[in-house]
């Protein structure tokens, strides 16, 4: 019966969510989500305070913390990581890093009852972050590993090409650049959907229930793009 707080700054949106799960009670799920490009540093803390006030809880009531660990905006990932790590370290509770791609898939499943979801996030520099999930009764099974690919190399998950795939996330704005096999295999695409702490807190609760949660310093961002500098030629 955990109480968890999740936060996310991985996109132009800023979000936080609080889940209070107690035996004999319905889940209490409170969430905030705003479009706040370049304003995460001022929006995040008041959002957390609002949620705690509304739930009548304090940070000391938290059993674990979670944050969107990526992929996404590098600076945004580190802002959420810093706040979450600082909070979890100060509270001496575990921290859970949640995949933004998985959170997108769960969003499609929870809100639109989708069964096969391909989250794709714009990675800038002409590339995309992607993965694929089968969703059933709130449980996600990953069918393709998280990857960084160029639009023309995006593929449907091997062995599952025949499923009714729906695309979610900002990467689908690149529709025109995607291979025809992907266009033909995807029944609809929803590029406006963004990762949200509301979905992350649910994923984090699942992770915690199955023994997840790490010492705060171990819950590092997952960038996927690791080639960010080039060594000088000697």
């Amino acid at each position: 019966m955990p109480t968890l707080l999740a936060l996310d700054a991985s996109s132009s949106a800023c979000s936080a969510a609080l889940l209070c799960r107690r035996d004999g009670h319905d889940d209490q799920l409170l969430a905030r989500f705003v479009q706040a490009p370049r304003e995460h540093t001022r929006r995040l803390m008041p959002m957390i305070d609002e949620l705690l006030d509304e739930a009548g809880l304090t940070l000391a009531d938290m059993d674990a913390l979670a944050y969107g660990h990526g992929p996404g905006s590098f600076t945004g990932l580190r802002i959420a990581a810093g706040v979450a790590q600082g909070l979890a370290f100060g509270l001496e509770i575990p921290l859970i890093g949640v995949s933004t791609l998985e959170a997108l898939a769960l969003a499609g499943h929870r809100r639109l009852h989708l069964r096969h979801v391909m989250p794709v996030i714009d990675a800038r520099m002409g590339e995309l972050y992607t993965a694929a999930y089968r969703c059933h009764a709130g449980e996600l099974t990953r069918l393709a590993d998280e990857a960084l690919v160029s639009p023309e190399r995006l593929t449907l998950p091997a062995g599952h090409e025949e499923a009714d795939w729906v695309g979610v996330g900002s990467g689908w704005e690149q529709w025109e650049a995607l291979p025809v096999t992907v266009q033909a295999g995807v029944s609809q695409h929803l590029p406006d959907m963004q990762p949200a702490a509301e979905d992350m807190v649910l994923l984090a609760a699942q992770a915690l229930a199955s023994g997840g949660g790490e010492a705060p310093h171990l819950a590092q961002p997952v960038y996927l793009r690791d080639q960010v500098a080039w060594q000088k030629s000697r």
Binding site: T41, R78, G82
Partner: protein, 346 residues
């Protein structure tokens, strides 16, 4: 008041604990220099990633060294600027998260104010007022320090910082990054009379610096030696010596002028280049001649560190200053916008 200081403005992760009753209790530093050396300079994205990896373990180390629990902290200070914005953000967000969890005040402080006041951590701190020369890879500034938060910029580099000039000179001589210490080592073998480089902006009044012309002069000298087939080890050492002499001489001339202009007798020298032995020798002679005294932070507090941030933060937190709920990362932040502790700063 026990204040945790966090520094992540560039390529060093620094954490320290300053107690207003007991002074500096513990400090720890992780330098990324080796990582950036492969790229010939600081790569901002890699610097930010490394801060995120190293900061919490360093905080834990400092608390362990101090024999304290996190609950015993009374405040947190972090570098809010100037610096690399992504790197600053790591310290700012972690500081705000930790402060919120512990329900204690948090304050973003000015990195250069930290350097100005770093000598206050020593056993014989300089009394106010004094002249400070801040000389590093990012800054070359002369500042009149009348008290905490009461600074007047007397002069600064109009182009490259002195440390940056050292790094570029090192590159031309085929030396590894960071260049300053390597150029200085090579210069020890050099003949000071073989080449003479100009002393930029010393032929006119004023306290500003310029080091980019010196870099061009250096490039020309190295190129003509190479073309003549004369760029042997001795020639490289001689060029390094001429370059170092020109930089040091320029810094000394401007310090002398700053002491004259202000009538002050105390000179604080801080920043990475303040470790340069020739500079220290020359300033010792110069201050000695006029009955003045030079003050330096201990070696590891000359470069970026958490101790100076903890110190400045403690002074200002005690005076009641604190951040609101917004984390601050200010890449450009003029020093003279600061105000004395406890009064609203611009």
């Amino acid at each position: 008041m026990r204040v945790l200081g966090i520094e992540t403005s560039c390529d060093e992760t620094g954490v320290a604990l300053f107690d207003t009753e007991r002074g500096l209790v513990a400090d720890a530093l992780y330098s990324q220099i080796a990582m950036h050396a492969d790229y010939g300079g600081v790569v901002p994205e890699l610097a930010s990633r490394d801060h995120t990896r190293k900061l919490l373990p360093l905080i834990e180390d400092v608390l362990n060294d101090a024999g304290m629990t996190r609950a015993e902290l009374d405040g947190i200070a972090y570098t809010a600027g100037p610096g690399l914005v992504g790197a600053l953000m790591v310290g700012a967000s972690t500081a705000h998260g930790l402060a919120r969890a512990l329900n204690i005040p948090v304050l973003g402080v000015h990195h250069m104010e930290g350097h100005l006041l770093a000598p206050m951590l020593e056993d014989e701190p300089p009394a106010f007022p004094f002249v400070a020369l801040l000389v590093s890879g990012g800054h070359t500034q002369l500042v009149e320090v009348r008290g905490l938060g009461d600074y007047e910029l007397l002069g600064e580099s109009v182009d490259d910082a002195a440390g940056e000039a050292f790094d570029k000179a090192a590159k031309m001589l085929g030396l590894e990054y960071p260049g300053g210490p390597n150029v200085a080592r090579l210069a020890e073998q050099g003949d000071p009379t073989r080449f003479r480089f100009p002393r930029p902006m010393t032929d006119r009044p004023g306290l500003d610096f310029s080091f980019s012309g010196l870099k061009t002069h250096m490039l020309t000298a190295v190129r003509s030696l190479r073309e003549a087939g004369q760029l042997d080890d001795q020639a490289r050492a001689d060029v390094a010596r001429a370059f170092e002499e020109a930089v040091v001489d320029t810094l000394v001339i401007k310090c002398r002028r700053a002491l004259d202009a202000t009538g002050l007798k105390r000179l604080v020298v801080a920043g990475g280049v303040s470790a340069n032995t020739r500079l220290r020798e020359r300033l010792a002679v110069e201050t000695g001649k006029r009955g003045a005294k030079a003050f330096y932070p201990r070696g590891r507090f000359c470069t970026d560190n958490g101790a100076m941030i903890a110190y400045v933060g403690a002074q200002r937190l005690v005076a009641g200053e604190r951040d609101d709920s917004a984390m601050r990362a200010v890449p450009r932040w003029p020093l003279d916008q600061l105000a004395p502790a406890g009064s609203a700063s611009a």
